[in-house]
């Protein structure tokens, strides 16, 4: 996947999210112009950027949605929930496509119908009638494409062409290449300039553009020239896809119709025949009769060059016909339709074109066709023979003379191209002479002999030489001519050049305010800062060493002074980097209103989500790891917590259930609470189930209190999906939630009261990269424990530690604290009896505990690294950290150690 696509998807997802956010807001609190505006802009951005890639269905869908919003914005369409739902559906579809794009599994063929369907539905809101029409039209176009596109022009198409200009069909035919032609009517919106559109230039760059016209009303003195009044019609040759792609931004502002060039030629056939009939040139008619393409091309070309079109009305048509014949690459279509022997009126003639059964012309023309033109000769060669023998004149007619004279001029003209023109001239002359003189064969042989290949080539060479010398001289003269003129030009150009220079500045004025950075780069920066923190920690050691070994107190002092500076800088650097990684929790929260709305609708419940503290900041990594468990918890609340409206009314609760999602910063942590006012969880049921599942023993079943029982839902092996229904509470993978939360370095607690509701409380560290740990010493080795866990440090006489049954207990401030000897727990040798013991009091979810250690050390910032490799199995260490002097600090996992202790 390309980097650009990555960026596009990333940005567009943000746009999608904010758009659906706004949509939900609108649905709940009614349409507000600025919200519609916001959604419009979001979709506009998606549409705009999507055009960079070959994902037309997506672009089109986004465009349709954007158009609908534009109409809503302009108050042309009033916002309804149906519109909102449909827009959300469109956003979902786009999001699904993004997923596919991301993994590269997109199938545009499959996208297409979805896009067309959704797009049509969206457009239906804009204009119910027009959208029906246009969708039909689209269907018509596509069906035409498959079946009848090769056949004929529809009446509408013919009308449109006729409307475009007289003989537009013929003219277009002259210039046609490629199989398809289009006729587009582009009527830009009045306000299109404000969207940065430039209709004329769009039309001018239409692919395969052949002709266009621009209709412009007269403007009053006080007219608003920033209203677009231009209407453009254009015809050209290009495939449907290409045109649609070109006009993708302007959907809804244009109508286009496509037809095949074959259909065009078929419908022009009669016109061409008519015109040929009026051109009194036998060479041409004969050539057409013989279906001799080369001959037709050349003689039509000659006629075109020689004919002087100054008199009659249908000159234009004739000229175009000749033009067409001079370049035509096939003439079969002329003979395909059989000439009608019946006299038909002009009207029925045009009808008959569409039937293609026969082509009618008015009687005079058809007589002319038969007697003079003979274009159907391949089928009727005997007619042709009869015709020739019946020809009255045996002397050169005036026009024949004229033509022969023209040949002479042509032969001498500059544009003369031997290979192309000579055969036709020869043929023409030959035919003329042949008709005038009865002895055709001898004449033809004589002419052919006279002008055999050699002579032709010689002539060609000569002409070539002549031309090249001419060109050379022309070039030199041109050069001399151009030198002053280029000077003129440069003068002209430099003037605007100076004037133009402010333009790039204008373009740059929208300076980038936000910088998007690859997250791995930030992570790398974070790592380095972490290393720096560790490296900085070595300075105090150095100072100590300088004092002890070097004996220089002064040096030690200086190092310490420097350390404080480095320390300060590192800390601000660290917090700066951490700040970069901080994002408000709304980043995750904003997805939930949608989730809740959808789920609530599905379950026929009424639920209101109240969010608080969305701007609480959080480490990006953490937030992302949080998203899943939070969804899980919310889903449980909706599914099992909140009762159905009837049930709620029965219980005397408000009909609409309420879920609170609250984020509160607490020191370096964040508390996230999910509170619902549903039916709560019955601890007795949990107890029983846990017992049945073998999570707790019989004795525990009796001793366990309600709060402990509730926490059992987090126990591994407690929940499976079947329980959900009979438990009437939560239970889907709560252990998974707990695992995810503790992986993020957090804890989860749950409170519930039957009939009142349930609260989940997640306590999460704000950042996960730097931890403050307290160092201590056991058996000459350094260990660390997370500073959050430390409650206090005390030194007590050994005698104060009492023994109750098989547990050591210490009483601090009238509080019983179980004590665990770390030497024992970590497998060190027992210490000789001491008079005084150092106790580190730590808090755990099970309450406070005392750890007997040897010596306290200072607190330190470390970057905790997880245990890897062979050490990964040791659960009583949660990780390691590197100390300033290079030693490795093992950080103990208090809960695991305590479990061993007991």
């Amino acid at each position: 996947m390309s980097e650009l696509l990555d960026v596009f998807i990333g940005e567009s997802r943000e746009n999608l999210e904010s758009a659906s956010q706004e949509l939900l807001e609108i649905q709940s609190s009614g349409p507000a112009p600025e919200r519609v505006d916001k959604i419009f802009r979001d979709l506009h951005t998606i549409k705009g950027s999507s055009d960079l890639f070959d994902i037309k269905p997506l672009t089109r869908l986004a465009h349709a949605a954007e158009d609908l919003l534009d109409s809503v914005r302009a108050n042309e369409v009033s916002f309804s929930n149906d519109i909102g739902d449909l827009l959300l559906e469109a956003l979902d579809q786009i999001s699904i496509w993004f997923d596919e794009l991301e993994v590269g599994s997109q199938d545009l063929e499959q996208w297409q119908p979805i896009s067309v369907n959704l797009g049509a539905q969206l457009r239906h809101f804009i204009d119910p009638d027009a959208s029906c029409g246009s969708s039909n039209e689209n269907e018509a176009v596509s069906s035409k494409e498959s079946s009848s596109v090769n056949q004929n022009l529809t009446d509408t198409q013919r009308e449109l062409l006729a409307d475009f200009s007289e003989n537009a069909d013929l003219k277009l035919l002259c210039q046609t290449y490629g199989p398809y032609c289009y006729l587009i009517q582009y009527t830009p919106d009045e306000g299109c300039f404000f969207r940065g559109e430039d209709p004329v230039n769009v039309a001018l760059t239409l692919p395969g553009l052949k002709a266009f016209n621009i209709a412009m009303p007269e403007l009053d003195h006080d007219a608003d020239i920033y209203n677009c009044m231009t209407r453009i019609k254009a015809i050209g040759c290009a495939d449907e896809d290409v045109i649609k792609q070109h006009m993708a931004y302007y959907e809804g502002q244009y109508t286009v119709t496509f037809f095949s060039s074959q259909a065009l030629s078929a419908s022009c056939a009669s016109k061409i025949r008519e015109n040929i009939a009026q051109i009194p040139d036998e060479t041409l008619t004969d050539a057409i009769a013989d279906n001799n393409l080369e001959q037709v091309n050349s003689s039509a070309g000659l006629l075109l060059a020689s004919q002087d079109f100054s008199d009659a009305d249908c000159d234009d048509a004739k000229r175009v016909t000749l033009q067409f014949l001079s370049t035509a690459s096939e003439l079969d279509f002329l003979s395909r339709a059989e000439p009608s022997s019946h006299a038909e009126t002009a009207e029925s003639a045009s009808q008959s074109i569409s039937n293609e059964a026969f082509v009618g012309t008015d009687d005079k023309a058809s007589v002319n066709v038969l007697s003079n033109a003979d274009e159907d000769a391949p089928l009727k060669s005997n007619v042709k023979l009869a015709d020739i023998s019946a020809r009255p004149e045996k002397i050169l007619a005036p026009h024949e003379k004229a033509i022969l004279t023209q040949q002479l001029t042509l032969l001498n003209s500059d544009n003369y191209k031997t290979e192309l023109m000579f055969p036709s001239i020869a043929g023409l002359v030959g035919n003329m002479l042949g008709e005038t003189f009865s002895d055709e064969d001898t004449l033809a042989v004589a002419i052919c002999n006279a002008l055999d290949d050699e002579t032709i080539n010689e002539q060609a060479d000569e002409i070539h030489k002549q031309q090249s010398t001419e060109e050379a001289s022309a070039e030199t003269t041109q050069q001399t001519n151009t030198s002053p003129s280029t000077a003129d030009f440069s003068e002209i150009n430099t003037v605007p050049g100076r004037g133009d220079s402010p333009q790039p500045i204008k373009a740059e004025r929208q300076a980038v305010k936000m910088l998007k950075v690859d997250q791995t780069k930030i992570d790398y920066l974070m790592d380095i800062v972490g290393e720096l923190t560790v490296a900085k920690n070595s300075l105090p050691y150095l100072a100590k060493q300088a004092e002890e070994e070097g004996g220089s107190r002064k040096l030690s002092k200086q190092i310490k002074a420097h350390f404080s500076i480095v320390n300060r800088l590192t800390e601000s650097l660290q917090s700066a980097v951490l700040q970069i990684r901080m994002v408000p929790v709304s980043h995750v929260f904003q997805r939930y209103p949608r989730l809740i709305r959808d789920l609530a609708r599905k379950l026929d419940k009424k639920i209101e989500l109240c969010m608080q503290g969305e701007d609480t900041e959080f480490d990006k990594n953490l937030i992302e790891s949080l998203s899943e468990p939070l969804i899980h918890l919310l889903r449980n609340s909706i599914d099992h917590g909140i009762e159905s409206p009837e049930e709620r009314i029965e219980k005397g609760k408000p009909e609409t259930g309420r879920i609170d999602l609250i984020a509160t910063p607490l020191d370096d942590s964040v508390i996230i609470e999910i509170r619902d006012d549903g039916k709560g969880i019955d601890p007795n049921k949990i107890k029983l189930l846990a017992f049945q599942k073998g999570v707790i023993t019989e004795s525990q079943l009796e001793s366990i209190d309600d709060n402990e029982a509730l926490q059992l839902i987090f126990a591994a092996g407690f929940s499976t999906s079947e329980q959900v229904s009979d438990l009437s509470g939560r239970g889907v993978g709560m252990d998974a939630v707990k695992t995810m939360v503790s992986q993020a370095g957090g804890t989860i607690e749950m409170y519930s009261e039957v009939g009142v509701g349930t609260t989940f409380k997640l306590l999460l560290p704000q950042t996960m990269s730097v931890n403050r740990v307290m160092m201590f010493e056991v058996s000459d080795q350094m260990f660390g424990v997370g500073m959050d866990a430390v409650v206090e440090t005390v030194k007590v006489p050994t005698s104060d530690i009492q023994r109750i049954r098989n547990e050591h207990i210490l009483v601090i401030r009238e509080k019983l604290i179980p004590v665990c000897n770390l030497r024992e727990a970590l497998g060190f040798e027992q210490d000789v009896d001491r008079e005084e013991q150092s106790i580190l009091v730590v808090s755990t979810p099970q309450g406070e505990f005392g750890l007997i250690i040897d010596k306290f050390h200072e607190g330190i910032d470390v970057i905790q690294k997880p245990l890897e490799g062979v050490l990964a199995g040791y659960a009583h260490f949660s990780g390691t950290a590197l100390l300033g002097d290079g030693r490795v600090l093992l950080i103990i996992n208090v809960q695991e150690v305590l479990a061993k202790c007991r």
Partner: protein
């Protein structure tokens, strides 16, 4: 400036942006006899073309740029322009 307004003639050069349309329109409205010199005009925004086509001012010099052949035709009241 892409458009230099002289006494009687507005000289348009290079590409005329949409912003020029208004000043051109007002300037042409001030006096009916005013002309435009399109010699060095290469392209323009639709809004500018719109002013030219709607006002059809007298053109003192037609554009040299081949891209604007159509403008010449349309301003000379040829409704259809065929690309050769």
């Amino acid at each position: 400036m892409p458009i230099a307004f002289k006494k009687k003639v507005a000289v348009m050069t290079g590409h005329c942006e949409i912003e020029e349309a208004e000043s051109l329109f007002t300037w042409l409205n001030e006096e009916a006899s005013r002309q435009v010199n399109l010699k060095a005009l290469t392209s323009a925004h639709t809004a500018v073309y719109q002013v030219l086509l709607a006002k059809k001012p007298k053109v003192s010099v037609w554009p040299e740029s081949e891209n604007l052949f159509w403008l010449i035709k349309i301003m000379n009241n040829k409704s259809n322009v065929w690309c050769e």
